[in-house]
Structures are given as C-alpha cells and as structure tokens.
C-alpha cells in the first residue's frame, strides 16, 4: 500500500487527488481512533474534534515557538493527546453512558476557549503556517503529506487490529457487554479504559498533527468543528463498529462521498448526507456495512 502511495505521488499529476485523498485518509485515522474507545469499549466520545485540534495546535505551538521539525511535531502531538486521553479517561470514565459523552463535549468547549485566548497560536484570529520546501522525492509538500497520511492510516489500522485481537480487545468487549460482570471476573476494567482512551487520543492527535501544514492556515472554529466529532462517530457506525475494518470502510465511503458532495452539489448538503446515512444505518443496519455483509454471507 505504501509503495502504491509513493508511486501515486510520483505519477499522478492532478494535485486535487492529493488534497481530497489526504482528507479521506485523515478520516480513516480519526474513525479508527474513535472505534477503539467507542466501538470496542462502548464509550461514545463526542470530543474527537478536541483531540484532533489539540494535535493540530501542538504542532502549531512547536512551529511558532521553536521551529520544530515535522517529526517532533507528530511525536509531541501524539504524546499530548495520549496524555489528554489518559487523564480524561481516568477522570471521566467512571461516568457511564451519556454522562461520559457530555463530559467529552465539555472538554471540547474548554479547549477551544483556551486556544481562542492563546496568542502564540493565533488566538481566535487564526494563524498562517508556511509549508517548508518539499522533500527531494516529492514535487509538492502536499504530496509528501498525503504519503505521510497513508503511513499514519496504516499505522492506526494496524494498532486497532492488534488491540482488537489481543487480550485488550477481549477485555474491552467484556466490559462493553457488562462492566460489572467483567470486573467480577477479574478484567482490569479501569486500566483497560484508561489505556484505550489514551490510545484513541494519541491516534486522533496523529490525525491532527499535520493539519496546520496541510491547510497552511488554522483557526479554532474550523479546527474544533463539530463536523470532525460527528464524522468520527458516523464513519465507524456506518462501516460497523465491531471490527477494525468497519471504520476503514465507513471512512473511505463517507469521506469520499463528503468530498464529492462538497465540490459537486456543494452547500451544507454534505452534512445532511452524513446525517441521512447515519439515520439510515442506525435504523436499518445497526451493525453497519460489515453487519450487512456478514448477514449476506450467512444467508
């Protein structure tokens, strides 16, 4: 896959492909990250936008404050959001169901307010981040970022697949079905929840870490946009939350549809499309596309 991406970076001449492809892959990472906590453990996070933006703003702070290289930006963005996920996990995962979800929304609002009042990263006005020269192999920096996002997506999906298939995944599934029962059987539920919140946070931060360079400009309203939170949640639900493949299918499908709708029919219709698909799948196919496929196989 990576080889194919590198070849694409060399051969495809249409720059738009990389712009749209980057966004779709970014959603693959976000949806996969959301699924670790939301799909495997059943804790619905509405604050994906906050984690994404925290990753993005960590990069901005490092660029503006220290002129840090991209590698350091990505690493620090993951560290910050992993810590954030872990801390929030430890503080709020004792809250069940809807209360946990409400807490994640509150965190998004608090973080956005902090960024709006932080001068170094541009405050409410936003800030321009100039792209450096493209590395020797690439004709433009966006092609380089696209290939980087392919690597991120592969890494995120591999991590999710590992978590799902290891004892961690089994533990998370147990606590999703019945937390008390799992606890009484010796599953370390709290440890598992904090770990999965940190892992999910780190991957969301990873998705956001290159966003300022991709955009060349960042401001809080679009970085903290509710669209990220809604998409990160809608994609796994549409694809199927039970497996690592579900978020990938959902993100590729919905992400591409969103890109196409934005530039063809345009307007806020793309939000409507997400909403419509979400309602359809929740009602008609609660197990998502994967669930439909499996049912088809059984029949």
């Amino acid at each position: 896959m990576l080889g194919a991406a590198l070849l694409l970076g060399q051969w495809v001449t249409n720059e738009y492909f990389f712009f749209a492809g980057y966004v779709v892959l970014q959603f693959v990472v976000l949806a996969t990250a959301w699924n670790i906590l939301g799909g495997y453990a059943g804790y619905v996070n509405f604050g994906s936008g906050a984690f994404f933006a925290a990753g993005a703003y960590t990069s901005v702070a490092l660029i503006k404050g220290f002129g840090a290289p991209l590698f350091v930006q990505v690493l620090c963005a993951m560290l910050v959001t992993a810590l954030m996920g872990g801390l929030i996990g430890a503080m709020t995962l004792r809250l069940r169901g809807i209360f946990f979800s409400i807490a994640t929304v509150a965190i998004a609002v608090i973080l956005e307010t902090v960024v709006m009042n932080w001068g170094l990263v541009g405050g409410a006005r936003g800030i321009t981040v100039l792209q450096p020269e493209a590395p020797a192999w690439f004709t433009s920096y966006n092609r380089f970022l696209f290939v980087l996002m392919v690597i991120f997506a592969i890494a995120a999906v591999t991590a999710a697949r590992y978590i799902e298939r290891s004892w961690i995944g089994r533990g998370l599934r147990a606590l999703r079905d019945n937390e008390e029962a799992a606890e009484s059987l010796g599953v370390p539920t709290m440890k598992l929840k904090v770990f999965s919140a940190a892992a999910s946070g780190a991957l969301m931060g990873l998705a956001g870490s290159t966003f300022p360079l991709y955009m060349s400009f960042i401001e809080p309203t679009s970085a903290f946009s509710l669209n990220y939170a809604v998409s990160a949640l809608a994609m796994p639900i549409i694809g199927g939350t039970s497996s690592w493949l579900g978020p990938v299918i959902g993100a590729l499908l919905l992400g591409s549809v969103q890109q196409i709708v934005t530039v063809t029919i345009s307007s806020e219709l793309n939000v409507l499309v997400v909403g419509g698909l979400l309602v359809f799948f929740v009602v008609a196919a609660p197990q998502g596309i994967l669930g439909l496929l499996r049912r088809g196989e059984r029949q």
Partner: protein
C-alpha cells in the same frame, strides 16, 4: 404514446447536444468559492449575485476575447478548512482560467500559499491584509482599503475634529476586529489620545450591558468598537438600554453588519449618531458612473435571490472584480496570469465603485474607506436608506457630505 417517445428522444438528444455546443464555444472559466451557507453567507450570496449580473452583462456584449464567460462556483460553507481543496479542484480539475478569492480574510488566508506556489493571479474579495505576510505579486483586492492602520487613521482623524482626548476600545477577539483595533492602538500617541478602557471580548458574546457600564464609568470622549454582525447588533441594543454617558462625542468605528439592510432596518433609530466605516452609500460624492444603474438592477433581483435588499456594501465591489478582470483581459488580449498581473499593477482600474490604482501589495494605492454617521434614521423603514441624508459621509475630506456631529448631541 409514440409521440411521447419521440418527444423524449428529442429532449434527450437536445440535452446531449447542449454541453457539446458549450464546449464548441469554449467558455472562459472564472473560478471561485464563496459562502452560500454558514455565518458569512449573507454577504457571500449578495456578492455572488453581483458577479452573476456581471457575467450576464459581459456575455450580452459577446463575452471576453470572443468567448463566453462562465462562473465556476463552490460553497465553502464559511469554513476556512474547505478552501484549499476547492481552489486546488478549481485549478486542476475545472481548469479555471481566472480565480477570485473567497469572501473574507479568514477564508482567503488558506488559499494564499497555494496561489503563491502555483504563481496564479487571485482577485481578493473584501479581505483585509490577506497578502501582508505572503506578499504574492499577483494578488489584487477589490475592497477600498489598503491596511488596517490606514482605516484606523481615518477614524482617528474624526476624533481630532471633535477635540477628543480620551478613548475607549471595545473589540471582538477575531481577525478583522483585532487587526483594526491594533491600528487604532498604534495611532493613539500621534494623536495625543489617552486610552481609558481597552477590552477584547470573545466573538460569541451576546450581552454587552456590563461592558458598556464599565466603559461609561471611565467617561471616555470617544468609543471605538470593532465587531461582527451579531455583536454589532447586540452592542447597539445594549447602547440603547444602558447608554454610554454624556461624555461620548463619537461612537462606532469598525462595526461589521451595520451596512446590512436587514440590520439597519431592525435597529432603526437606535443607530442615530453612530459613526461607522462603509464602502459605498447613496451620497452625492459616491456617484461613480454606472453604480446607480447597477444597484437598480441588483435591487430588482435581490428579493427573488433572497439577499441583501439594498446591496450598498459588497455588491458594487464584487461587480467591480469582474470589471477589473474584463478590463485587463480586453486590454492585453490575454489570459496569461503574468501578463494580466502586470497590467493590473501598472494601470488605472475603471469600475462602478470608482477608479483607482493598485499599490505594491495589491491593495488600493490610495484607500477610500468612508466613515458615515447615521442621522435622522426612522424605525422600520428600508426605503429611507435609498436616498442621501441618512448615512452622511463625515470623512475622509474628499468624499465628505456633512460635518460630524457629536454623538451626545444627536442622542440627547
């Protein structure tokens, strides 16, 4: 039945032939993204209508270089994160010949690195200082201002005329408002003004009464406000309820939204005395050739298009973007961005919004922001704004139609 089938076949054939005809004529494609939904859509839609009128006008005269002009328009949803992708698509997929920037600074900023990298011509659309950092030599703005500082200077000159010594500043914590408030802060010393109150507020603030009370307690002689449409309305309402005290001789400055017909109509007499920046008003010094005719045609279409009824603020300048592009293309007989940019740098632009030349960063060389004072405004009456005398121009001197009157005197 057979007839129906024949008709259907003919319709299908016609629909298939239509695009083929279009290709044969090979239109000049002018690409842009503009907010048709989201918080900037009010202004975005009215600007788009103006551009559509220009397109129809230019096509009625045979197009440009003998080719029809086509607008390729996308909705950016007022969301800056959509614009780099949209402009890449405009350039690479739609093969747009000419580019117009999205409406507003925040949406234009993400596009600037892209156009600089590809070395493309970009016509700005009411941005402020969008090219200050990037310094792209093929960016040209339509708005009649050069920089925030120049805009602030024009307001500070008015405080001088009223003999003001102390000033209070109230500004939204957002791009445009902070930039211009910064210009005012810089200019205070030169004017011998003392700042007695200086407060930024988050853009989603709705209640300003406590801020106005705190401000009144400082007894300033001038109040400079930099705000966005919803806060502008909230501040004017709070001003009416709380008041700012009899010490204030001038109130207003950079309140975005007070140029919109719906807000002017709903606020009505509450606006009296407020001094605010503007781009065009129906005063005698603003009678540039063609502008009244354009506005009459715009206003006739505005109701159906459900956009700003009077269209005084942005539409003439969006029509002007089209005129500027047409002038450059016709004069150079070229669509080469380098050739067009050279022409734009070196020649006077003739538009319905006035004639002007460009300065080094692609802003107007001699900015023409006007400051108007609302006088004798009545409640719930849109028509009153169609004629002179309700928004008199109090500065700069070249366009002045009446002297500025002290705020406290008008509000008494």
């Amino acid at each position: 039945m057979i007839l129906n089938r024949v008709q259907a076949c003919l319709a299908l054939a016609a629909s298939l032939a239509m695009p083929a005809l279009g290709n044969a004529q090979n239109p000049i494609r002018v690409g842009l993204s503009i907010a048709q939904t989201g918080p900037l859509s009010g202004a975005g839609k009215s600007g788009l209508l103006a551009l559509q009128i220009w397109r129809d006008d230019v096509n009625a005269k045979g197009g440009l270089l003998g080719r029809p002009v086509e607008l390729v328009v996308y909705d950016d949803q007022s969301n800056p994160s959509t614009t780099p992708g949209i402009y890449t698509k405009l350039v690479d997929v739609d093969k747009a010949d000419l580019l117009i920037a999205p409406y507003g600074t925040n949406l234009t900023a993400p596009v600037m690195p892209l156009v600089k990298q590809r070395d493309l011509l970009l016509m700005g659309n009411f941005s402020l200082d969008a090219n200050a950092q990037i310094k792209h030599d093929k960016y040209f703005n339509n708005a009649p201002w050069s920089s925030a500082k120049a805009m602030a200077q024009a307001y500070l000159a008015l405080t001088g005329q009223l003999g003001v010594k102390t000033i209070a500043i109230l500004a939204a914590d957002a791009e445009f408002a902070q930039t211009i408030a910064g210009g005012v802060r810089q200019g205070l010393k030169e004017r011998g003004l003392e700042s007695v109150y200086d407060q930024n507020y988050p853009p989603n603030t709705v209640d300003f009464s406590s801020m106005l009370r705190a401000l009144r307690a400082k007894k300033p002689e001038a109040v400079f406000v930099a705000s966005y449409p919803s806060d502008s309305a909230a501040i004017i309402r709070a001003l009416n309820e709380t008041g700012v005290g009899s010490s204030v001789k001038i109130f207003g400055g950079a309140m975005v939204g007070l140029q919109y017909t719906t807000l002017m109509e709903s606020l009505g007499s509450m606006l009296n005395g407020v001094v605010n920046f503007h781009a065009w008003v129906p005063e005698r010094t603003m009678d540039f050739p063609g502008v009244r005719d354009f506005l009459a045609r715009y206003q006739a279409k505005a109701k159906d298009a459900n956009v700003d009824a009077l269209g005084f603020y942005i539409p003439p300048f969006d029509y002007a973007i089209g005129q500027i592009l047409a002038q450059a293309v016709n004069a150079t007989k070229s669509l080469d961005n380098k050739v067009l940019a050279k022409y734009l740098r070196e020649n006077e632009m003739k538009t319905i919004a006035g004639n002007f030349r460009y300065g080094p960063t692609g802003e107007w060389a001699s900015p023409r922001v006007i400051f108007v004072q609302f006088q004798d405004v009545l409640d719930k009456n849109t028509d009153q704004f169609r004629s002179a005398g309700k928004q008199v121009i109090v500065g700069p001197a070249a366009y002045k139609t009446a002297p500025v009157r002290p705020f406290s005197e008008i509000r008494r």
